[in-house]
Symmetry: C2
Subunit: 299 residues, 2 copies
């Protein structure tokens, strides 16, 4: 049973895991991330791998999920919004220090890959994964492969416009999905409808109809926005993860109905189902480890 | 030098060609299509292959491009708006009559495949192809493969919404690209700005600034609309074909600028270039023949 190591690099911590071919974690190591320089972050990755390797030796390769833009050849971090990496040849550096083959991946892609292989989409051949955190991460799998695009930039669904001339987005466009279907947009709606300091989730659990209605509208907006993505890639399944997916039961049915309505009668019977992610926060490191196992140039 | 046969099934005619591995047509046959029944259309396909086979014998397989929805396994025509096929097992029938392996493909996909292999995108690894006729056909190639989707419905870019709450479309949605970037939309703009019975193309050739401006606005609308597709699949190249591409010089620069503007600074340097299709009306049969050559189950 060969192990691979998966690392999830976050804005505040680095989490490494030793993972089996069937996606089970057999050892873990967590480190705080000092984000003062690219060097200290890279060193935290190296230390996390050394720590998990000491607990579970014999791993054959390393996958590293990082926020931001990974080059199409998966050797460099081109740009990361929250980490000090700019066109950083991270895979080269890590391979020299660790002594194992390394593959990089965008963190949302890595988490989605875990859901595709072992989680909510394990029985599907294609999927769109949306991760609703404060923003919207996304990834697409077609033909059993992550869709990376010509420059590693495919799957940026959170910045597809779903409302022409809508709210301005940090990316420079207006009306992006991220402004209508994210943790931030839910916070905005909650403050507007329920006031500050109120927990939307607790309200929905309690049965507060205004809270339930905010989640329903969230589901409707995202569902309508997903129609363009479906018309473009025709996925078998949509998988919803991230913190907001804790409220899956409150928005999923509205999302399904809105997507079917928007796709219309031509898509009757073939609109993708929408399911919840199953692997939670471990998905990033499990997916990174599995991508290292299946990287063509590492086998 | 092995030949394959490619057939392009249109609403009014069936065109067959014998095609070499490098995409050259060595023989052709054209038949009018009697659209009175699924049987007569299928028979026209059979006769066109028999005719071109008599001129260029020895072909090893047949690709058939048809309008409408082809099943993901490329054996059946699920639905065709202009032909009397409803869940028609066309490949089975044709194989029995013709005695060669047959693969079906959506006609826009087949034409796009020819541009990818031998035309405007022959040096690219991924592309989005748009065919501007009276409507908008489209196809996507990623990783050297046509993106078909879970049900054969991927690449329906003409029915992606580019104007929220915009003009109603025949598909049931509102604001689809087809209503803003197609031959029909140009006709509407021409009648509005120049009156009926006026040739927009001749006006642009003559230097009429109103005609040039209609093409520029067309380019701007489509360019902006393409941004969502780029964010989703990150293609290396966009290839523009169809009748409207005769006016490529009048709209292409506006399209490039609008796409780059809409993608914004994060995509500086990686927004795909936009080029004209090169193979004209022959693309459909050349692409169908090449798809038959490269179909995994036919080799």
């Amino acid at each position: 049973m060969s192990l691979t190591y998966g690392v999830d690099v976050g804005a505040t911590s680095v989490k490494a895991a030793a993972v089996t071919p069937d996606g089970r974690i057999v050892a873990e190591a967590h480190l705080e991330t000092p984000v003062d320089s690219s060097d200290t972050v890279a060193r935290a990755v190296e230390e996390s791998v050394a720590a998990v390797r000491a607990k579970a030796p014999g791993g054959v390769s390393v996958g590293v999920g990082t926020p931001g833009w990974t080059s199409a050849d998966r050797r460099r971090v081109v740009y990361s919004p929250n980490l000090p990496w700019r066109d950083e040849p991270l895979a080269d550096r890590l391979e020299t220090v660790i002594g194992l083959p390394v593959v990089l991946e965008n963190d949302a892609n890595a988490a989605a890959w875990a859901e595709f292989r072992f989680g909510g989409a394990r029985s599907a051949n294609s999927m769109v994964a949306l991760t609703f955190g404060s923003g919207v991460g996304s990834a697409i799998v077609v033909g059993g492969t992550l869709l990376r695009g010509a420059h590693g930039c495919a799957g940026e669904i959170g910045h597809c416009v779903i409302v022409t001339g809508g709210l301005p987005c940090a990316c420079g466009r207006t009306g992006c999905m991220e402004n209508y279907g994210s943790g931030r947009s839910l916070d905005r709606d909650t403050v507007g409808a329920l006031g500050t300091g109120v927990s939307l989730h607790e309200g929905a659990v309690r049965g507060d109809q205004r809270a339930r209605s905010i989640y329903r509208e969230f589901g409707q907006r995202v569902g309508r926005g997903l129609a363009n993505v479906c018309l473009t890639v025709d996925p078998e399944l949509v998988v919803i993860g991230g913190g907001v997916s804790d409220a899956f039961e409150w928005f999923s049915e509205a999302m399904r109905i809105a997507l079917r309505d928007e796709l219309g009668p031509h898509w009757a019977g073939i609109a993708p189902d929408i399911v919840a992610a199953e692997l939670g926060a471990a998905a990033g490191r499990v997916g990174a480890a599995d991508l290292a196992r299946h990287a063509p140039h590492l086998t």
